[in-house]
């Protein structure tokens, strides 16, 4: 289960009154530290509940200065999760600490090693490039240098985890006289690495070259993702790598209720909240010059400009049915969700599925219900779709054996 930890209590007219959900929304007008504390604890409880309910992994990520995702320090959350799931077979998926904004980047190597030690080798090491809002606006990274910084940080982290010798690192962005990491990760030669991306060719190339798992993080569903993932698999096909579906990950918004009609009734306002408010990002913050290299810029402008602008115009009018029909959200009764999800997984050929079970303003109790229904009624039917043919080489080795289903699902509220 993936949790963004959005701020759950934005005013109804937020998107009309405020410029952007990211970078410049005023904290004191919109929130209080006490509310933030409540949301952190709910979020942790929801993820721990998900772990107990039978989910294979729990997943958090990093964002700054925003009401879209409130975890500037994902490893603080990961640390609580690693401890609270001690002795279980649940992976701690950090998606993760952002490489170009962590200076020096061995901080990521250290904290991930700590998490791997605390969890007994259950870490999945996500290595995000960082959104423009986070990296360029909030953390001041020069856009045109961001990707190069990322590559250098990645190489440093991998070497720091594996080198038996103390070594000097003479990089363009980081110089360290004697790298000698304490502690080292449990998993050898290193924890599995997942690389989140949004469809750019440079990221495919990087993930495939290093044999990492490529995760396409989209909020626009499996149907629009099809083009991207087909492109990815075609790219893999031209490389030396196999077509193991676990080489790819995908993020899916998903809500389950007793019936399709109840799903609409219970979840639609929160889906609306997510697309209207959580994604209310000032376009100029999302694309500062240089964030994309020249080829990607040309590609995006020529191929996506029209789609993006028309999507921006159409989204506010989407009904619940539109969201479901277009696959942005998989929603409905357990049977409906099972069918849609199986189709999406097969269609995209993804082994590592991240499900966003808390969406926008969803309250705590409803989130627990969604987690329970998904874990009990849906997960057992999709978990082993690829297992007859392929091994998940991008999963902590000690957790790869097929997981037994929980004897009984934890009742809603049981973890709070």
């Amino acid at each position: 289960m993936f949790h963004l930890m959005p701020y759950r209590d934005l005013p109804d007219d937020f998107e009309k009154r405020y410029h952007s959900v990211w970078v410049d929304p005023p904290f004191h007008e919109l929130s209080t530290p006490e509310k933030a504390g409540q949301f952190y604890n709910w979020t942790l409880d929801e993820l721990i509940h998900a772990a107990k309910a039978g989910m294979d992994g729990v997943c958090v990520n990093e964002h700054h200065q925003n009401a879209y995702g409130n975890m500037p320090g994902p490893n603080l959350m990961g640390s609580v999760l690693a401890r609270a799931t001690a002795g279980t077979d649940v992976a701690i998926v950090q998606m993760g600490a952002t490489l170009p904004t962590t200076q020096p980047p061995i901080r990521v190597a250290e904290e991930y090693a700590m998490l791997d030690c605390i969890s007994g080798g259950r870490l999945v090491a996500g290595m995000p490039l960082g959104s423009p809002m986070d990296a360029n606006l909030c953390y001041g990274i020069t856009p045109i240098e961001q990707r190069e910084r990322y590559y250098e940080a990645h190489d440093l982290i991998l070497k720091a985890w594996q080198s038996r010798e103390v070594f000097p690192w003479n990089g363009k962005y980081t110089q360290l006289p004697m790298v000698n990491l304490w502690p080292r990760p449990v998993q050898q030669p290193h924890p599995p690495v997942w690389v989140p991306g949004s469809g750019s060719l440079s990221t495919w190339d990087f993930a495939v070259q290093h044999d990492h798992c490529y995760c396409f993080l989209s909020y626009f569903g499996s149907k629009l993702a099809k083009g991207v993932m087909d492109g990815f698999w075609e790219f893999v096909g031209k490389s030396e790598r196999d077509s193991n579906p676990y080489r790819a990950g995908f993020l899916q918004l998903l809500v389950v209720s007793e019936t399709d009609a109840r799903a609409e009734e219970e979840y639609y306002p929160h889906i609306r909240y997510f697309y209207d408010k959580c994604l209310h990002i000032a376009p100029e913050f999302a694309a500062p010059p240089g964030h994309q290299d020249y080829r990607s810029l040309v590609n995006t402008m020529k191929k996506q400009f029209k789609d993006v602008r028309s999507m921006r115009d159409e989204l506010p009018n989407f009904t619940f049915k539109d969201f479901v029909d277009k696959g942005f959200v998989i929603a409905g009764s357990p049977a409906t969700v099972r069918d849609q999800l199986q189709e999406a997984i097969k269609d995209l050929r993804v082994g590592n599925l991240m499900v966003l079970l808390h969406i926008g303003s969803m309250p705590h109790e409803l989130t627990l219900k969604n987690i329970d229904l998904f874990s009990r009624e849906v997960l057992p039917h999709v978990r082993d779709l690829w297992d007859n043919e392929w091994e998940n080489r991008w999963w902590p080795e000690s957790l790869r054996a097929m997981r037994a289903l929980p004897a009984e699902a934890v009742p809603a509220g049981g973890a709070s």
Partner: protein, 268 residues
């Protein structure tokens, strides 16, 4: 409009090719463009009536050569690169005019080696910073809002065109290419000033020896005109001219006045 010639020069151990537009005859003057790339405009036409104008394109901004920026890591590299470019052009100590981002680069060149610049014209330059009057970050300002900060007159055709383009859901190939060119130019220049255009000029600017003319649009919404004084008080031999009814690009909005001031200054 005068006919310009393109020259392509190779510098930096053959790693950087630079296109330089030139026109006119007379004493040499180098023009360094702003963040959005080089537009040969009527101001440069006027200038070329009395001078040989050299207008280099900042590395990476020349169409077809987006990677030319890669060998230059930082501002120090960029300044040294310009000395090499002056050498290749056979310019010992030309007059240098810099606009906006180019103004900062011109000031850096003149401060680092005062012997390489004999006169300096800074048109709405960036490069200094006041917390109480911050320079607006043009790279994070929406395209549709930019005219408000760039121009005094919102009815200018270019202001209208930019505002309209920001609202369109479909762009012609020509408009698309222009947007890509503008975005990429801002990326290549932004490399040296992100996220705040205060990269140490304040520590070096006192070294400038060249007589300096500072021109500023009174309605500049990017770099407020208060910065004219900030520059002037740090340069030994500087004079300020504030231009009415002009924003960040006074050489466009008040062409004849600015052309006159510059040519008088260069002749004096």
């Amino acid at each position: 409009m005068v006919t310009t010639q393109d020259r392509t020069l190779t510098t930096w151990r053959d790693e950087i090719e630079t296109r330089v537009k030139t026109a006119g005859a007379g004493p040499p003057v180098v023009f360094l463009h702003g963040a959005y790339g080089l537009q040969w405009d009527p101001f440069l036409d006027n200038l070329s009536e009395s001078h040989t104008v050299y207008a280099p394109e900042h590395p990476g901004t020349t169409p077809g050569a987006p990677d030319a920026l890669k060998p230059l890591d930082n501002l120090w590299d960029l300044v040294l690169y310009y000395y090499e470019l002056f050498d290749e052009l056979g310019l010992d100590a030309p007059a240098v005019i810099g606009h906006s981002f180019g103004g900062m680069v011109a000031a850096e060149i003149a401060a680092t080696n005062p012997e390489r610049v004999n006169k300096l014209v800074l048109i709405d330059p960036i490069g200094l910073w006041r917390d109480d009057q911050p320079v607006r970050n043009w790279m994070t300002t929406s395209f549709g809002d930019l005219p408000k900060y760039l121009f005094a007159d919102q009815n200018l055709p270019i202001a209208q065109m930019m505002t309209a383009a920001a609202r369109m859901t479909n762009l012609s190939d020509e408009q698309m290419d222009m947007q890509i060119q503008i975005m990429w130019s801002a990326a290549c220049t932004g490399k040296f000033v992100w996220p705040i255009p205060d990269k140490g000029l304040k520590k070096r600017i006192h070294r400038i020896q060249a007589p300096t003319l500072i021109i500023w649009g009174r309605q500049d919404g990017i770099a407020p005109p208060i910065y004219a004084e900030e520059f002037a008080q740090r340069i030994k031999n500087a004079r300020v001219e504030l231009i009415d009814n002009a924003g960040h690009v006074p050489q466009m909005e008040q062409l004849q006045q600015v052309s006159g001031l510059v040519s008088d200054f260069l002749r004096s």
